[in-house]
């Protein structure tokens, strides 16, 4: 499971608190060191890790607290709360509405898995009885339209695109018009890969977003991404109104910690994860249950709620 390894390390670090007879600053420092190393090895953004360390340290006052039990509980709940913050932006995800067109635009870095994930999402809704379709507004990547065409044909998903039109804004507008007219409910717009260093690409994304007025913009992130994720995710959010995150390629060895910084930077929840190249290698993601399962810390969550 995603981040499972990380979860195990953190849980065992927290459990070691129970073995310590006295809980002093040294015990806390050792614990934090262990947790922070685990986070850094999973690519969690180093600034977020440092923040987590500071916040936990701030929450514990060694002079003030009397019993060891109390300290233990404060440490555990603070660590838990800080971890929750990494995954949970506290924002409700977009929910499509039946019987009207819901326009969903995909954006992200080159090769992150947008096109593959577009088909997965269309297929996911199609199987649930929604009328879903796909518009290929990537006119840059060689073979982009063929990729969409082949994927959609296999999954029997209606698609729109062009071999000759070079302006993605035109394609997006036309495709959207056609599918709205035909009363589709889930209209997904695939776009080219782009990065913040190239202004013209970001301008193009803004234009597509302006004419399509998507109900939701999904930022697609590769699970293996490292420390560069944060700045990219922030730049995407600054340019267009990103509302959700999908992390792909979690079938590999990657823990996806780098991609988590996209959650903080875009203040958007993860809604799905990709777990393979096939169309059904796709799972819904729910933040809260994920965290308690991840950390096997249902009891601690209970503590917070008290």
């Amino acid at each position: 499971m995603v981040l499972a390894d990380l979860g195990r390390k953190i849980t065992s670090a927290l459990k070691s608190l129970n073995n310590a007879t006295v809980i002093d600053e040294k015990v806390l420092d050792d614990l934090l060191k262990e947790i922070c190393t685990a986070l850094l090895e999973s690519d969690v953004n180093i600034r977020l890790v440092k923040k987590l360390r500071e916040n936990v340290k701030l929450a514990i006052d060694f002079d003030d607290m009397a019993g060891g039990l109390n300290k233990r509980r404060v440490i555990q709940t603070t660590v838990f709360r800080e971890l929750v913050k990494l995954v949970d932006p506290g924002v409700k995800p977009f929910v499509p509405v039946k019987g009207r067109p819901n326009v969903i635009m995909f954006v992200g870095l080159q090769g992150s898995g947008k096109t593959t994930t577009c088909t997965k999402l269309a297929y996911y809704y199609q199987r649930k009885g929604w009328r879903s379709c796909l518009v290929c507004a990537d006119t840059f990547r060689a073979g982009a339209f063929d990729q969409v065409k082949q994927n959609c044909t296999k999954a029997r998903i209606p698609f729109y695109g062009s071999y000759t039109e070079v302006d993605p804004v035109v394609i997006a507008t036309e495709g959207l018009e056609q599918f709205k007219r035909e009363n589709f409910e889930i209209i997904i717009i695939d776009t080219s890969g782009r990065h913040k260093q190239e202004d013209s690409l970001f301008e193009e994304m803004l234009q597509i977003s302006t004419v399509c007025k998507p109900h939701n913009i999904i930022f697609v992130m590769d699970a293996s991404i490292g420390q560069a994720c944060e700045a990219q995710a922030r730049a995407f959010k600054d340019k267009v109104d990103v509302g959700s995150v999908i992390i792909t390629k979690l079938d590999g060895h990657a823990k996806g910690g780098g991609a988590l910084s996209a959650v903080a930077a875009t203040r958007s929840p993860i809604i799905f994860i990709g777990t393979g190249e096939h169309i059904d290698n796709f799972e819904e993601f729910k933040t809260k249950p994920f965290i308690s399962k991840l950390l096997g810390m249902g009891d601690i969550e209970g503590l917070i709620e008290k």
């Binding site: 190393t37 090769g111 992150s112 060689a142 073979g143 063929d146 913040k196 293996s224 490292g226």
Partner: protein, 320 residues
């Protein structure tokens, strides 16, 4: 008295307590620059080993000594131990009437096919004829992607510019076929039709995917390419380590035990270098693990965006 005298005139001798806190800061710096955590730690401990017991002048701060030593280690790491000269090797193969074959492999979406097209462009500019073997028979659009590149490349370098010869061709058998077979047929085709180079595009695969890793090892075992490039993206974090360890291991494990020259990764093609600003650490992680050179750096999405690694610039960005 003697030790007191020495410390007055020539500074002091470094011990762990001097070096450790400074190295901690540099380790965090390396991690922030996207060097894999494990490798950042290893680099720092080797610097520690080098420095403990060393005398430093009284005006030399510990920080600057650590910085200099770490900079030196990083430079050394990025400086190739052997010079890979592809153009020379292609010329030699040409002389022996044998096409020079390069395999591009790596995980999904890192830029294998695009950078293969850039390498084609570079070879064509050097007047070599290239056959591209479409051995990704899985991913939708993979073959058409290469066909589009071949079309563009031939438009940029039309036969009129090259004595009537078409400089780049696509060898493809559509989808679903065995990649190793197609590579073999492509190499045969190249030999018969006097292509100088065969560039083998392979499907992206996760390093833990046993059947796919086995298939890649088979392709390399059967076809014995002259060069196997691992394509990795500069965006990758700690995964760089696991990717390279397992790609290498797969090639070693599945290769023929009786074959003396086991084919491993010969070099790295580092892509998307234009997307990471100063977070250039993946270059360090990848060379540390393989000990192999970064042969090319991909710096954009056009054919001209292929460079050599500038080790000095990378180290400068890292240490900023």
């Amino acid at each position: 008295l003697f030790s007191l005298f020495q410390s007055l005139v020539s500074g002091k001798t470094l011990d762990a307590s001097d070096v450790a806190p400074v190295l901690e800061k540099f380790r965090d710096l390396l991690i922030a620059k996207n060097v894999a955590a494990e490798i950042a730690s290893k680099l720092c401990s080797s610097v520690e080993t080098k420095l403990i017991g060393k005398h430093v002048g009284s005006f030399e701060g510990v920080t600057s000594v650590v910085r200099a030593t770490l900079t030196e280690s990083l430079m050394l790491l990025l400086t190739p131990k052997r010079r890979l000269d592809i153009l020379r090797d292609v010329r030699e193969a040409q002389h022996n009437r044998k096409p020079y074959a390069i395999t591009f492999c790596g995980v999904n979406g890192v830029g294998k096919s695009t950078n293969l097209a850039k390498v084609s462009f570079w070879l064509i500019e050097n007047n070599f004829r290239v056959l591209i073997a479409a051995c990704d028979t899985f991913r939708a659009g993979a073959v058409e992607q290469l066909r589009t590149h071949v079309h563009h490349l031939n438009a940029l370098h039309p036969p009129e510019k090259h004595g009537g010869k078409t400089m780049v061709h696509l060898y493809e058998q559509g989808y679903g076929k065995d990649a190793a077979d197609i590579a073999r047929m492509a190499i045969d085709h190249a030999r018969k039709h006097t292509f100088d180079v065969v560039l083998i595009d392979t499907a992206g695969r996760m390093q833990d995917n046993e059947p796919l890793m086995r298939a890649l090892a088979k392709l390399i075992l059967v076809n014995e390419p002259d060069l196997t490039l691992f394509v990795g993206e500069a965006l990758v974090g700690n995964e760089a380590v696991d990717q390279l360890v397992k790609f290498n291991k797969a090639l070693a494990n599945h290769s023929n035990a009786t074959n003396a020259n086991t084919h491993m990764i010969d070099g790295i093609l580092l892509t998307k270098f234009d997307t990471i600003d100063d977070k250039v650490g993946a270059a360090i992680s990848m060379t540390y693990i393989t000990g192999q050179p970064i042969v090319f750096v991909g710096t954009g999405q056009t054919y001209a965006d292929l460079r050599n690694l500038d080790a000095k610039a990378v180290v400068h960005l890292l240490m900023q």
